[in-house]
Amino acid sequence: MKTQIPVSHIAKLANIPITSDEEQKLQAAFEETLAVVEELQAVDVTDVQPTFQVTGLENVTREDTIDETRMFTQEQALANARATADGYFVVPQIISQD
């Protein structure tokens, strides 16, 4: 059973640039993967709750106190940026602003 994925729509959602060539290859790869995944549909999950975390942990929170040891200086924060100006990170402006 072949499942058609809207590859270019997904690429946009995922913010991944792809060529039309890649689109075709990806389509084939997805079909293969989804064929494997489809077999899950046959499993009986009646009355089964999903498990999002296996730890069983709850209420893990932190106190509202400043952690100086982990805070970066401005220099450290910017250390790996490709473009900076006056202490800011720089990106080309996106047309539709919000």
Partner: protein, 461 residues
């Protein structure tokens, strides 16, 4: 050659002043000549000698460790084997590497891996594949292939890897090393490039079980920086070494999976050791691991599609056009399985089947103390094998995926060696959550009472 010693042996000899750091480093240096061909290390720490010198009074005495390149290391380039992070030099340490440094280890260098940990071959690395030191026409497995190969090649005394679904145990099996995946939440994930947040587990890859227990002691434990890390007390795992396994109930699973014919006959005789040591061994029926492939595929890709959204080249690294094919596939499929109209069909369903696996293991552990299976359905595959299928990794890891998605601890020990190919089979020993000690006892017993470990039995090989 001192680089062929185990971590425990090196520490002992350093303590007794039988060897010096300089001698150790000199021998390791000689082994680096293999790197050209095997492509194990991506980045070397050129301050290694100083770092080591400064740590000699601490527990790990300045001994160097190889670290998988998805652990952030201050001042040392970290790429996760992707050119997206080609230029990334972290300003911070992962908790694991920080704890190791505080314990006196020195970072030797960063090892190659499947890019973003997406794979079971180390072929998807954007810096070229790593070759299996046991037989360079074959792959080392993955995604911690570089770390496993470093240990197997004696280019590292010990290494650190990470597992999301087989990435510690499977390359350990293919390279003939020990690989320990702790209980999910036992070791902090902070500072490790996230793959599947709900299953990622850092762990040691070593020459012996003893070395793995030692390293686990130093990296395990609660971390306030990781909300999923456990506050359960940490055992002294070295106490589990040399323990009797008499009376232990061992269940052997996954032996009826089709496609194991080749290796089944090699694996099964190895189980006799446990009986000789007084344990009860029985074949047991477990939930079909094929379902784990589906669960893992969906959960991993969904979580990773979100975890890799931060890589946009603005604050660090290069933009998203640098992602390799495998990463693109996984991100996009994960986006799809979470998307409107499909999240219930895929993501929610996968999490429900995950529950079934949890229930199945709970049932098995009512009856058995330990579960055992093959780690990998076969020997290390040849170069290029990963390109055969978009699902290569998942199929290869089928036998370890169930324990990965349920957070169980598991350890790989070499359990067979083929003298013609020089390749290994691995045994996967699993325990209930938080029972690493029992698991280590069984693995240690197996290692000491068989001849498959190439370091423990150096004279015999």
């Amino acid at each position: 050659m001192l680089n062929t010693l185990t971590l425990t042996e090196v520490l002992g000899k350093l303590k007794r002043k039988e060897i010096s750091h300089a001698e150790l480093f000199a021998d390791l240096q000689k082994s680096y000549a293999q790197n050209e061909k095997l492509n194990i290390f991506l980045t070397m720490n050129d301050k290694l000698a100083e770092d080591s010198e400064a740590a000699t009074t601490k527990a790990l005495m300045g001994v160097p460790l190889a670290i998988k390149d998805n652990f952030c290391t201050t001042g040392l380039r970290t790429t996760a084997s992707s050119t997206v992070l080609d230029t990334f030099i972290p300003q911070y340490d992962s908790t694991v590497t920080r704890r190791l440094k505080e314990a006196g280890a020195a970072i030797q260098g960063k090892t190659n891996m499947d890019a973003w940990a997406h794979g079971s071959s180390t072929e998807t690395s954007q810096y070229g594949r790593t070759l299996n030191p046991r037989n360079p026409e074959h792959l080392p497995g993955g995604s911690s292939g570089g770390s496993a190969a470093a240990v197997a090649a004696d280019m590292a005394i010990a290494a650190i890897g990470s597992e999301t679904a087989g990435s510690i145990r499977q390359p350990s099996a293919w390279c003939g090393t020990v690989g320990l995946k702790p209980t999910y939440g036992r070791v902090s994930r902070y500072g490790v490039v996230s793959m599947a947040s709900s299953t990622d587990s850092p762990g040691p890859i070593t020459k012996t079980v003893e070395d793995a227990a030692l390293l686990l002691n130093h990296i395990a434990g609660h971390d306030p920086y990781d909300g999923t890390s456990s506050t359960n007390p940490v055992d002294d795992y070295t106490q589990a070494l040399g323990q009797s396994i008499e009376g232990l109930k061992i269940g052997v699973i996954y032996m009826d999976i089709p496609g194991l014919a080749e290796v089944k006959s090699l694996f099964e005789p190895q189980l006799k050791v446990f009986e000789e040591l007084g344990a009860h061994v029985e074949y047991a029926q477990a939930m079909d691991p094929n379902h784990a492939i589906g669960v893992y595929t969906v959960v991993q890709r969904s979580e990773v599609s979100s975890n890799l959204a931060r890589y946009d080249g603005v604050r660090y690294g290069n933009d998203r056009s640098h992602f390799g094919d495998e990463a693109k596939r996984r991100i996009m499929l994960g986006t799809y399985t979470l998307s409107k109209g499909y999240a219930d069909k895929y993501y929610l369903l996968a999490q429900k089947v995950r529950t079934l696996f949890l229930q199945d293991f709970a049932r098995l552990f009512q009856k058995y103390d330990i579960l055992v299976s093959l780690t990998s359905p076969g020997f290390a595959k040849k170069i290029g094998a990963s390109e055969s299928s978009a699902m290569f990794g998942e199929l290869e890891d089928m036998l370890v995926e169930p324990s990965s998605i349920t957070g169980l601890p598991g350890i790989n020990v070499p359990c067979y060696h083929d003298p013609k190919t020089n390749l290994y089979l691995g045994m996967n020993i699993m325990a209930p959550m938080w029972h690493e000690s029992e698991m280590i006892s069984v693995a240690d017993a197996f290692e000491k009472h068989t001849s498959w470990n190439s370091w423990r039995n150096a004279e015999k090989q």
